[in-house]
């Protein structure tokens, strides 16, 4: 039904006039950086990942709510990215979106009935108000917004969160779409209400023969709801395949980390967790090689070690009271160190160069062995000390036990 091929979406970073004047580098957020996937008719495909992984941007690109930088999206044979506005109108009728915040999705000054019937008017699909009203009341019954006659004239402010989300769903299905992109549709609802909204989505799927793209950060809900999932990290799909396979034996270290981090609602199964270090890095400067490598518990020598990993390591050492003093003495203040691509270094002044280079070599042996082994050379040239890393191995998707994985372990 839907094909996404090598989708790239970069958002420009707003910079001031002076910054633009003095820097030729154009900064952009690499929201989606080469995502390919296919969606089969009638399935529920989950896009799962932490904030900033690009899952929402993929969803929006499908609806042409964001302009892709490159790549292609084809829906039922039509190229969405190149579709003209007129063609796209009919496409919009067949693809609908449900957002996370039902409150923000409904105009507070529009009654529920009018809001749900609005798409019919926009697309000119009803000949008169009577027809709109009948249609709206029918859909309201279907989504459980009852008594529908009474709720028709209510405003969003009079409804509970769950009811509002039902209204949003009603508005999405009134055009009888083929595909619904649901972006965290239950994240803002109370636990006791979530199940009912999810059940409603499943009911409507059968009734209307719908296909869903379900965007979520909640791996538990995705497991229950989806047929296949794509685990995303910093703009890339790291693992993609049938839910059953991925949850039963996750292959990518990131997928494993995510599954491991979910709180288990059973006090008897408390256990210490092995968690990846740190947080998702800035998508303006995604890490080299595998983007997960700086945090990965299973990292290899060839995963993409680069200059700033060395700087991060220096910073990390300063948290250690036994190491901080000697490091400061010999290596100097951290802000004098720079990182560029696969190199890191600093200018050296009058200090003892041999001592410096020896200390850098010795602290590298105390670092993660994979990082140490990735170092090509530590050298002093032109009064600069430089730590240089090897180039990473080329990363590509591989089929592993019935799913695609992007990881050098395989």
């Amino acid at each position: 039904m839907l094909e996404v091929e090598d989708l790239v979406v970069h958002y420009p970073v707003k910079t001031s006039f002076l910054q633009r004047l003095f820097s030729r580098e154009k900064l952009s957020v690499h929201a989606v950086d080469g995502v390919s996937l296919t969606l089969r008719s009638g399935e529920i495909l989950g896009l799962v990942g932490e904030s900033g992984c690009g899952k929402t941007t993929v969803g929006r690109a499908i609806l042409k709510l964001v302009e892709p930088t490159s790549g292609m999206i084809r829906f039922e044979g039509i190229d969405v990215t190149r579709a003209k506005e007129a063609d796209f109108r009919s496409l919009r009728r067949r693809i609908q979106i449900i957002f996370q915040d039902p409150h923000a999705s409904l105009n507070p000054a529009m009654t529920i009935g009018r809001a749900i019937g609005h798409p019919l008017k926009i697309h000119g699909l009803a000949s008169n108000d009577r027809e709109v009203r009948d249609n709206v009341l029918r859909v309201m019954r279907e989504v459980g917004l009852t008594p529908e006659e009474q709720l028709f004239d209510k405003y969003p402010g009079d409804l509970s969160g769950g009811q509002k989300q039902r209204a949003v769903i009603a508005r999405a299905i009134i055009l009888k779409p083929r595909l619904i992109v649901a972006d965290e549709p239950v994240a803002m609802l109370d636990m006791s209400v979530r199940a009912r909204v999810l059940e409603l989505m499943l009911d409507l799927k059968t009734k209307y023969d719908l296909t869903y793209v379900f965007i979520t950060h909640d791996l538990a809900t995705a497991r229950f709801l989806c047929d296949r999932i794509a685990i995303m990290y910093l703009g890339r799909i790291v693992e993609f395949g049938p839910v059953k396979r991925i949850y039963e034996s996750p292959k990518h270290p990131y997928t494993r980390a995510l599954l491991n981090a979910i709180p288990v609602p059973d006090p008897k199964r408390r256990a210490p967790k092995i968690l990846p270090r740190g947080e998702v890095p800035d998508a303006v400067y995604p890490p080299a090689g595998c983007r997960f490598h700086p945090r990965c518990p299973a990292v290899l020598t060839t995963c993409g070690w680069e200059g700033r990993d060395f700087i991060d390591y220096l910073e990390e050492r300063r948290l250690n009271p036994e190491k901080v003093q000697r490091d400061e003495e010999i290596l100097g203040p951290l802000d004098e160190w720079w990182a560029r691509g696969f190199q890191a270094g600093r200018k050296i002044g009058e200090e003892d160069a041999t001592q410096l280079i020896e200390h850098v070599r010795s602290i590298l042996t105390e670092a993660q062995p994979q990082m140490n082994q990735a170092v090509r050379d530590v050298s002093i040239r032109d009064r600069q000390i430089t730590v240089e890393f090897h180039d990473p191995d080329l990363l590509g998707q591989k089929e592993v036990e019935g799913r695609l994985v992007e990881c050098l372990l395989y």
């Binding site: 636990m191 199940a195 999810l198 947080e279 948290l319 203040p333």
Partner: protein, 318 residues
């Protein structure tokens, strides 16, 4: 266990245009020294009101009744000036969004100096030294101490806020949805920090959350609130394995976890607290409700040792 904080018949009413909102109604519970108590409930259950009462930050048009004993002090009786002396020093708070606590125009270091000097007469350099210790213990490097809040990632900000809350070594820490805005891995990291803190200090922790998974992972005991009333209270293992109150049962069943095979929800919606249901406030949504449930307010009584609940038919659920 020595009791640190004790609520006795604690009620809080807000005055609104539509009338009084009974946000909390007759709460009885105690928190022991070094204990972690989870407070769970849906939107409007009163869990945040409870936190605000402990911290003396209830909105101006609210009335507090009953007792809230902390050491020798009844927090329900003291004035704002007295509260200012306790808050931050003996009772500290971490919020859902660290940016509401950190001043965007102030360097991280200055937050600490200000907090320390507000409560203790120490020199500037002494205060700074303590800031460094507090921050490095939360893995925030000293080199970043002069940065502004926006220069940190979400998880780092939350760690800064925890460091700031703990710098005066409070005996009670109130954490109101401390991980809700964080991603699952960072959330797990923060929960690990809170657990480590519990191990090394005798600080008590009140953890307010809607996430029962978090409760199961870090709390010793849990209080379940429904519509301003305490539905059930008990050790976390007992509550999860043998809940008594029907609301607790249904709430636990509605959790969507990795083991979920079937979805469950609770019919209806939480009541309007301006005009709460008569009798047991849960009766309109309770599948086991009898006519008497609409008439009698169930007493909060122990059905199992250390596990009181407010249900007229509690013993039938043992």
């Amino acid at each position: 266990m020595e009791t640190l904080l004790k609520a006795e018949d604690l009620s809080v009413h807000y005055s609104t245009k539509r009338g009084y909102v009974h946000a909390l109604d007759g709460i009885n519970l105690a928190i022991g020294r070094g204990e972690t108590l989870g407070i769970v409930g849906e939107t409007g259950s009163g869990k945040s009101t409870f936190a605000k009462a402990i911290l003396g930050i209830l909105p101006p048009k609210s009335r507090i009744e009953g007792r809230l004993q902390f050491h020798e002090t009844d927090l329900a009786r003291i004035d704002a000036e007295y509260f200012r002396r306790i808050r931050g020093k003996d009772i500290a708070l971490i919020f859902q969004d660290p940016m509401t606590r950190l001043n965007p125009l102030m360097r991280i270091e200055d937050h600490f100096v200000e907090t320390i000097k507000a409560h203790e007469s120490v020199s500037e350099s002494e205060a700074r030294a303590r800031a460094v210790t507090a921050l490095t213990s939360m893995r925030v490097p000293e080199s970043r101490i002069r940065n502004y809040p926006h220069e940190f990632s979400g998880g780092m900000r939350q760690r800064i806020m925890i460091a700031l809350a703990l710098v005066l070594k409070p005996s009670l820490l109130v954490a109101d949805e401390p991980t809700t805005s964080l991603d699952v891995i960072v959330e797990a990291q923060i929960l690990e920090i809170l657990e480590d803190l519990k191990r090394i200090s005798s600080m008590s922790l009140v953890l307010i959350t809607h996430n029962l998974g978090i409760v199961a992972e870090v709390c010793d005991r849990v209080a379940v609130l429904y519509a301003g009333k305490l539905a059930e209270l008990g050790p976390v293992e007992d509550i999860f394995a043998r809940p008594i109150h029907p609301y607790t049962r249904l709430l636990l069943r509605s959790i969507i976890s990795l083991d979920t095979k079937e979805l469950h929800s609770i019919e209806g919606t939480p009541p309007d607290l301006v005009d709460p249901p008569s009798g047991c406030r849960f009766h309109p949504r309770c599948p086991y409700a009898q006519p008497v449930c609409a008439e009698q307010v169930p007493p909060f009584v122990e059905f199992r040792s250390g596990q009181p609940a407010s249900c007229l038919f509690g013993k039938d659920f043992l």
